[in-house]
Amino acid sequence: MADTANPASGSSDGETRRDFLLYASSAVGVVGAGLALWPFVHSMNPAADVLALASTEVDLAPIAEGQAITVMWRGKPIFVRHRTADEISAAQAVDVTSLRDPQTDADRVKKPEWLVMIGICTHLGCIPLGQAPADPKGEFGGWFCPCHGSNYDTSGRIRKGPAPLNLAVPPYAFTTDTSIKIG
């Protein structure tokens, strides 16, 4: 009791013990508050049903050479392009070391005539133009993003403009010779 009433004259021993209790309980409190916060933060991450949004199957047979279609996967547009021989050779001829995001064309396709990509500009998420025959295709004959002017080549690689990365390739597999499963 004397300690409590007059801490200044108390033994330094008691003070250290009290300090320790104060720091220890504060630390436990802070860690506890942090742990309690996590469920709130994590509840904003994709929910199980969103994650489960499974896969998309695409039949490639009707897509003629030089044509492209856009399908939806996980709420995102997927570009599927049946490339012409010219487009393939243009994509393969590029000196990889000169690229902003160096990738060979072979790294980006499973079969050279089929280019499958997420059709979302890696700058700020707009959908690049170039799927329809009348669309502007940019300086490299691939895709052109109207939002801030990114140019992609016939392999979907970034060549000019503010985007930092190539158009992403989603996980996909050929289920038969003429159909793929994305996701």
């Binding site: 904003m44 991450n45 994709p46 939806m72 996980r74 700020l124 998420g125 707009c126 503010p162 930092p164």
Partner: protein, 407 residues
């Protein structure tokens, strides 16, 4: 301190909770510089606008549905079927623009008359916090009608965070609650848009608290020294504020009734389509100067950092400005640079609405450099070199001398 009335009930309450004393102290007796001009009306106008936004928003929320399949239609139903729904929505949508006009004028008033300088630094910070919260609220609100601009604005702005290395993609997925802007995004934006204005309200209370503890600045930028320099808030400034409100409401309602879509984008009357980006995406006008800064940098992360930096740098303005004199009235050189800074902001705003290419891009880059040059270099240097004009002895002395008699 005794109750401001002899009424028994008032006295009884006031003895237990001195709320009447407080109100009398801060809204009636509050000593205010007697030389305030009309630029000092914009604070109370912004406060009024916040109240209007909360009220109209609350009633809109009673008919709005935050689901991707119904949001657009529920807003159209508000416009067509809900009694006076069109009025509530146009008051709210134009109110957002009015709010920003008022706050921009309010901020520039502070820049011109040096209101950010000691002892008002914390007051200035709180103002900037309100401004940041307003930007967030306006952005979230604009997403709610789920039109094309709502959707693509949300996509571009949330993607800004993907510029940060390593954590960027995770932050964006977390903001979206999925892999693209979709229903979980819209669903969470609604309650956030609902609650942020109340956070703003809380910060406004602290902002006014800080104001009342350091008192208002004034066009001369010198402190109040004697009671002669001040007048009580009521009735002098209550009536002046009311007069300002009358004028402002005419301006605001003219848009609501005669040009309700003046500030809007026609593309936002097209329902959101995740598969088609509109050819020309523009944010709401009040973000344009910062959007221009973002686009003037050819690097993604660099642009994002510079854009956020443009606002954050204002927090240290009180220390960047080295002059001992507050008001530009007495600063023959800095005055013109401050006006030029405003012009520069307008040019940036104009550039922000144009496609980013050719001369437009170049002008935007020059203006961006000027924005930072002004704050980081010119402001400290001019503060050192400039010889200010002599300050009057007190707020009342110029008046007293002119009329040749004591007031």
């Amino acid at each position: 301190m005794s109750a401001p009335s002899n009424n028994k009930v008032v006295k009884w309450v006031d003895d237990r909770l001195p709320i009447f004393t407080m109100m009398k102290h801060s809204a009636i007796d509050y000593p205010t510089p007697k030389n305030l001009n009309y630029w000092w009306n914009f604070g109370s106008l912004a406060g009024l606008m916040l109240v209007i936004m909360i009220l109209t928003g609350l009633f809109l929320a009673m008919n709005y549905v935050p689901h991707t399949s119904m949001a657009f239609d529920s807003v159209e139903r508000i416009m067509r079927d809900v009694n006076y729904g069109w009025l509530l929505r146009y008051l709210h949508a134009n109110g957002a623009s009015m709010f920003f006009i008022l706050v921009y004028i309010h901020i520039f008033r502070g820049l011109y008359y040096g209101s950010y300088k000691a002892p008002r630094e914390v007051l200035w910070w709180l103002g900037l916090v309100i401004y940041l919260l307003m930007m967030a609220t306006g952005f979230l609100g604009y997403v709610l009608p789920w039109g094309q601009m709502s959707f693509w604005g949300a996509t571009v702005i949330t993607n800004l965070f993907s510029a940060f290395p390593l954590v960027g993609e995770h932050i964006v997925t977390w903001l979206w609650g999925g892999f693209s802007v979709d229903n979980p995004t819209l669903n969470r934006f609604f309650p956030l848009h609902f609650v942020l204005p109340f956070v703003i309200l809380g910060v406004v209370v602290v902002h006014v608290w800080a104001l009342h503890s350091v008192k208002s600045n004034n066009p001369l930028g010198i402190d109040m020294k004697t009671p002669q320099d001040s007048i009580p808030f009521h009735p002098y400034y209550t009536i002046k504020d009311l007069f300002g409100i009358g004028l402002f409401l005419m301006f605001y309602l003219a848009f609501v009734f005669w040009a309700p879509n003046f500030f809007g984008e026609p593309d936002n009357y097209i329902p959101a389509n995740p598969m088609v980006t509109p050819p020309h995406i523009v944010p709401e006008w009040y973000y344009l100067p910062f959007y221009a800064i973002l686009r003037s940098v050819p690097d993604k992360l660099g642009g994002v950092l510079l854009m956020f930096g443009a606002i954050l740098i204002l927090f240290v303005l009180p220390w960047l400005d080295t002059s001992k004199v507050r008001s530009c009235k007495f600063r023959p050189i800095y005055k013109w640079f401050t006006i030029l800074f405003l012009v520069n902001a307008f040019v940036l705003g104009y550039i922000g609405a144009q496609p980013a290419e050719g001369t437009m891009l170049l002008v935007g880059q020059i203006c961006t450099v000027w924005y930072f040059l002004h704050l980081l270099v010119l402001t400290p240097v001019i503060g050192w070199l400039e010889k200010p004009k002599p300050l009057p002895e007190s707020i009342s002395s110029p008046v007293v001398k002119k009329s040749g008699e004591a007031v």
